[in-house]
Symmetry: C2
Subunit: 340 residues, 2 copies
């Protein structure tokens, strides 16, 4: 198994996990989802499809809606409800991205200027609100109170997570547990909801819905841990994101948590100055990256991600071996391997 | 009838409309709503009840939830569903206020510092998102897809209206029709939804649901026209709002629309400089108020509000004469008379 190979050997392994099996499985459905997204972005206010189109078209992997599509497939669902519901998931995700970029004062996302830079914070807040409402309209059209509950709950938890993140921001005393609570809420809640929906439309028993939710939640945590690690990795440039965004914003992520705890007093003064006091000078990001390296904080963050990835993989154990199951397992590997 | 009395006589009239009959009718229910609001604001993130409590406790008339309560009563509903649903309406309203204050960069609301000033824009955006999600959770608990549709539709329309307002902002060429479209969307949609819910929980036929929706929509338009007029009235100070907020933000409201159209070239240059170019000097607000006076723009805005108020009143015509109906009629009069 890959898990027992040393890091270097694994990095050199010829075959790498990719999203291709997932794309092969749900590609046709995803085309329909993209169509539904375009159709439902429509509004009397021309700025709405314009701004929403900018961020939705900008790419992104459509990972969350693909999880809804693949989970529906895994549950043997043969209807069409997954299309609209996957669009809901993407709308909710996009709404949170728009609001995140305002909250973080970001100016780049996936290598493109963010909506708040192009159209202003005001429009980003309001179009986010619109997409969020539109998602609920689509769910009402779908007509399942159970789906509405899953996504209303997820949305509330996401907002809670974002607020908790504000509260831990710039606080180097944040514990790993607090960090995980934020990640579970702000990221993993939508992953788990996206997956659970598959069992709901498939009319599967609670044990399968719970399994898919667990898969999604642990995958989401692994995904975010890797994301937080990538923010200190040279690789990040290839994603179109500038390295060090989290550092500049004083975000306390797992790599920093580990390095802070493993460092000496002088190093902690450095972290406090940069992240709590926000006093950053030329060369500080480079120094942060050296400290992360010295304490193995990046590699160990990925190890933590592997742990959650394993739980996600095992959660799928109760499902029969199908193409859908293999594709979902590959997503776990992909999310972790993108760290290299 | 009050409508045919000249303005001055009416101002001197001893008996003035108030919200008292409404408070008498739904006071007990409103206490329960306030309790439900406090209970459902709860969150793991302490900042959420803190910030939400600030704006919700700050007062406001609770007009929208009271409309849900009174409409339910008008429809003969004797259960308890109106309590939670009125709380939803207030949560959605509060979420839009939080986002509005960020969008408008306001620093005062009802005489208190706004949440964005006290806790920052970031927290206001996220807590708004939370309240919005929480409203949908309460609706899911209630279990009516029809209510979910009414409020999901209203939420989408509100966001559209706010975006349209952004697009007309600072544009003195905005037509009265465009202005009304914005008002119908950003304000009247929640009033009409709040009222329609009464017919839904009461299980009343579509004609009554439509009548309540029409009442709410027209009341909402009248309410906003008066609000926009008050922003140029000395009376405004007593509401705890600073006069001239709309002027400073370059908002094109009905009084300005009328004065702009009725003015000469020199006056239009003045409005363009102040509202389009945002070049404002000492004395400009006073000059604006003189121009509004010269062209009767404030009084005529109130006349327009009366028109919508009359439609609202007549929409209730199909309901039998009850205490609830009288209270709702009084709301119309109250909303218009607060202009004096």
């Amino acid at each position: 198994m890959a898990d027992i190979l040393p890091l270097d050997t694994e990095r050199a392994a010829p075959k790498r996990a990719s999203l291709e099996p997932l794309m092969k499985l749900v590609g046709d459905d995803l085309t329909k989802v993209n169509h539904a997204i375009l159709e439902r972005m429509h509004s009397r206010a021309p700025l709405i499809p314009q701004l929403a189109g900018h961020i939705i078209a900008a790419g992104g992997k459509r990972l969350r809606p693909m999880l809804t599509l693949a989970s529906s497939r895994l549950c043997g669902y043969a209807g069409q409800r997954q299309i609209g519901l996957a669009a809901c998931v993407e709308f909710i995700h996009t709404a949170t991205l728009l609001h995140d970029d305002v909250v973080d004062e970001s100016d780049l996302r996936r290598g493109n200027a963010t909506a708040n830079v192009l159209w202003g914070n005001q429009a980003s807040v309001l179009v986010g609100d619109f997409l969020f409402s539109r998602a609920f309209q689509i769910m009402v059209d779908d007509g399942s109170l159970e789906v509405l509950r899953v996504l209303a709950d997820a949305s509330a938890v996401i907002a809670e997570g974002e607020v908790m993140q504000l509260e831990t921001s710039n606080n180097t005393e944040t514990s790993e547990e607090q960090y995980l609570e934020v990640v579970s809420a702000k990221t993993a809640a939508l992953f788990s909801a996206a997956c659970r929906i598959g069992a709901v439309v498939g009319g599967r028993p609670a044990v399968e819905a719970d399994a898919l939710e667990s898969y999604g939640r642990n995958l989401g945590i692994a995904f975010q841990l890797v994301d937080d690690t990538l923010d200190y990795s040279a690789q990040q440039a290839t994603l179109g994101k500038s390295i060090g965004d989290d550092f500049r914003e004083g975000k306390i992520t797992l790599p920093v948590l580990l390095a802070f705890r493993r460092g000496d007093d002088e190093e902690r003064l450095f972290w406090r100055r940069c992240l709590e006091d926000g006093e950053q000078r030329d060369g500080d990001l480079e120094q942060a990256m050296r400290l992360l390296q010295r304490h193995n904080a990046l590699a160990d963050s990925i190890e933590r991600a592997r742990h959650y990835g394993s739980i996600a993989r095992d959660a799928l154990g109760i499902f029969p071996d199908t193409e859908a199951k293999h594709a979902l397992v590959d997503v776990v590997d992909f999310c972790i391997e993108r760290a290299y």
